[in-house]
């Protein structure tokens, strides 16, 4: 019964072990097969689930071990994309920016195997994150559609089919990741429509994760999105949530409870105090306690420590509010 309030969860990614990072490199260099890469990813997933279970997180994920990167992975699995090579992000850091070279097509379910495998490893509830159509298009070159909007809506239709496949497989919690959204607040209406298309006929719990950015410019507009939960980074703004109080928070909140960009592990007290502020927005059963964002940038041991402390903090709060 305690778990019905302050449910704990993750955003998605977890840092990959070295052997898996190496395997991805070897796979892209043509040195190992997809099969071999897959086997190593599955091995890594076992360890991620083990960490999530040991930390006693309520709603878990596979840490996105099978995904090379959050845009690239989908670009590789949806028809119409081509990779021409790396593009600089900053300094000497690069990513594979995909090009949409022809109309996109849905080839086959992308995440269903991932979900089934995770399900075989744990009894816990599972959340499946998917990178949203707005972000994938924003982070790609568009050669095939007249404009960005058209490409986004086309991809939203494809993602809708994927979501239907996930629901059919038994998924009951889907999180749409839209990190690009807060970087273009002026395009929020396009993103809203895209999510509407993506989630059409999807009746399971739906979350929308938005990475740190100009939140004040997209709130309260995001409350109009067709999702049950808005998932935000709040720890890295020291739980300064005043901007959220300007409008009644009409959805569940994925409440960023620990900072994923700072290796310092928060104390239980800090998190309890930070999360308690969230009760000014929603009631405890609508407050999902989770890290700000994916944990992939943090060393494994620190990510694990952060999860443990976060769950402890949620348990303290549950005692208080039971």
């Amino acid at each position: 019964m305690a778990k019905e309030i302050f449910p704990t969860t993750i955003v998605g990614s977890y840092s990959k072990p070295d052997y898996l990072n190496d395997a991805f490199k070897e796979y892209y260099a043509g040195k190992i097969s997809h099969e071999q890469l897959h086997k190593l990813a599955e091995k890594a997933i076992v360890d991620v689930i083990k960490d999530h279970e040991e930390a006693d997180v309520d709603i878990v994920s596979d840490g996105e071990m099978r995904r090379s990167e959050m845009t690239e992975f989908f670009a590789e699995n949806i028809g119409g994309f081509k990779m021409f090579g790396p593009v600089r992000v900053w300094g000497n850091n690069y990513y594979q920016k995909p090009s949409i070279i022809e109309k996109m097509t849905y080839k086959k379910p992308i995440l269903v195997d991932e979900y089934n495998y995770t399900k075989s490893l744990t009894k816990k509830r599972i959340k499946v994150p998917i990178t949203g159509p707005y972000t994938i298009v924003d982070w790609s070159f568009n050669e095939a559609y007249r404009n960005k909007e058209e490409a986004i809506y086309a991809l939203a239709e494809i993602e809708n089919r994927e979501l239907k496949a996930l629901v059919k497989a038994g998924v009951d919690f889907i999180q749409i990741d839209e990190p690009a959204l807060s970087t273009h607040p002026e395009e929020i209406e396009i993103a809203r429509k895209a999510i509407e298309i993506t989630t059409k006929g999807i009746d399971v719990k739906k979350g929308l994760h938005i990475c740190y950015g100009e939140y004040d410019k997209i709130y309260p507009a995001v409350l109009d999105f067709n999702v049950d939960q808005i998932d935000l980074e709040l720890a890295n703004r020291k739980w300064d949530i005043d901007f959220l109080k300007e409008h009644e928070f009409t959805k569940e909140i994925g409440y960023g409870a620990c900072d994923v960009h700072n290796p310092r592990v928060e104390t239980v007290e800090e998190i309890v105090a930070g999360v308690r502020k969230g009760l000014e927005l929603v009631s405890p059963e609508k407050l999902f306690v989770k890290p700000d964002c994916g944990l992939k940038m943090l060393p494994r041991n620190i990510a694990f420590e952060k999860l443990k402390v976060m769950v402890k903090a949620a348990k303290v709060l549950r005692k208080e509010f039971e």
Partner: protein
């Protein structure tokens, strides 16, 4: 028709690990320098083979067009240990590093055979907008930057450079810029080129010139660079040129899209150029990408350079 490239070029894939290896001390500064030279040489050859008239060095040692200049020139770079007055105590001697761009330009200039090598210099207004400049106001800072950059331009001139591209994307990216700031940027532009008899281009990208266009035409520049390839900015700039011309300035027409892997066709370019020319009363048109090609994967950037030279020759 003449053609030009306008900025940084994608780092070749072999250069990325070399930079990491240097940072970790696995290769020496000289070895890294060799790699930079190799990249510059290949890029210059590519542009010359493609028949580009005004080429650029590629800026392979630069992470972006702003920070190397800002960090080394507006601050002091720390040098070797020097005795602190008459004590047995030492400090690192700071030195102003004017000539940063000139040194890179000189190396690249020795590699080229027939094309003319442009120098790319960050503009005072953009430097102001991309930096924390407190306690200065934008107007104060651009005045200082104009003077400092004039020293850089003189160093470039001394090295043999006669063709300058001054990058001012912030003038078109920012909206509602106060008139005084645009005026200050124009005065700083004059300061920057003071005493130097060369071609100076006011290069814009990442936006349409909108409400500042007429003011930009009053800048003491010989050329103006505009984006005609992006959907919204392109339309805006077509309309501006149609309505106001270019005030006698030569136009660097960014018709090749540097932010999309899609290849333009000859017909697309021809149509765009005709449209631009119909609005211009005077001044030549130079064909160019609408921004640096560094935003593209290298294989596509290379294709676009070849296409740029080829299509310009045909026009």
């Amino acid at each position: 028709m003449k053609s030009t490239t306008v900025g940084l070029y994608p780092r070749p894939e072999y250069l990325q690990p070399a930079i990491r290896h240097f940072a970790k001390g696995r290769i020496s500064a000289e070895q890294l320098e060799q790699e930079y030279r190799k990249a510059a040489k290949n890029y210059i050859e590519l542009q010359e083979k493609a028949g580009i008239d005004y080429i650029t060095s590629g800026g392979f040692s630069w992470d972006d067009v702003i920070t190397p200049y800002a960090a080394n020139t507006f601050g002091f770079k720390l040098g070797g240990l020097i005795r602190f007055f008459d004590n047995n105590n030492y400090y690192r001697k700071p030195s102003l590093t004017v000539g940063l761009i000139a040194r890179e330009w000189k190396v690249a200039d020795e590699m080229k055979k027939k094309a003319e090598l442009k120098a790319i210099v960050p503009g005072p207004f953009t430097l102001a907008k991309m930096s924390e400049i407190a306690p200065f106001t934008t107007e104060e800072f651009v005045a200082i930057a104009g003077q400092v950059l004039n020293a850089e331009v003189k160093a470039l001139y001394a090295a043999g450079c006669r063709n300058f591209q001054i990058d001012e994307p912030s003038l078109v990216f920012e909206k509602n810029i106060p008139d005084e700031e645009v005026d200050a940027a124009s005065i700083a532009f004059a300061e920057l080129r003071k005493g130097i008899d060369s071609q100076f281009c006011l290069q814009t990208y990442f936006g349409g010139a909108g409400e500042v266009y007429e003011k930009l035409l009053d800048f003491p520049a010989d050329l103006i660079g505009l984006d005609f390839a992006s959907v919204a900015s392109g339309k805006e700039n077509f309309d501006l040129v149609k309505e106001h011309g270019t005030g006698g300035k030569k136009l660097v027409a960014g018709v090749i899209d540097a932010r999309n892997t899609k290849m333009e066709t000859e017909a697309d370019v021809k149509k765009a150029i005709e449209k631009i020319r119909s609005g211009m009363k005077d001044g030549a048109v130079i064909l160019a990408p609408n921004a640096a090609l560094e935003y593209l994967p290298e294989v596509i950037a290379e294709k676009k350079v070849k296409f740029l030279g080829e299509v310009a020759r045909k026009l």
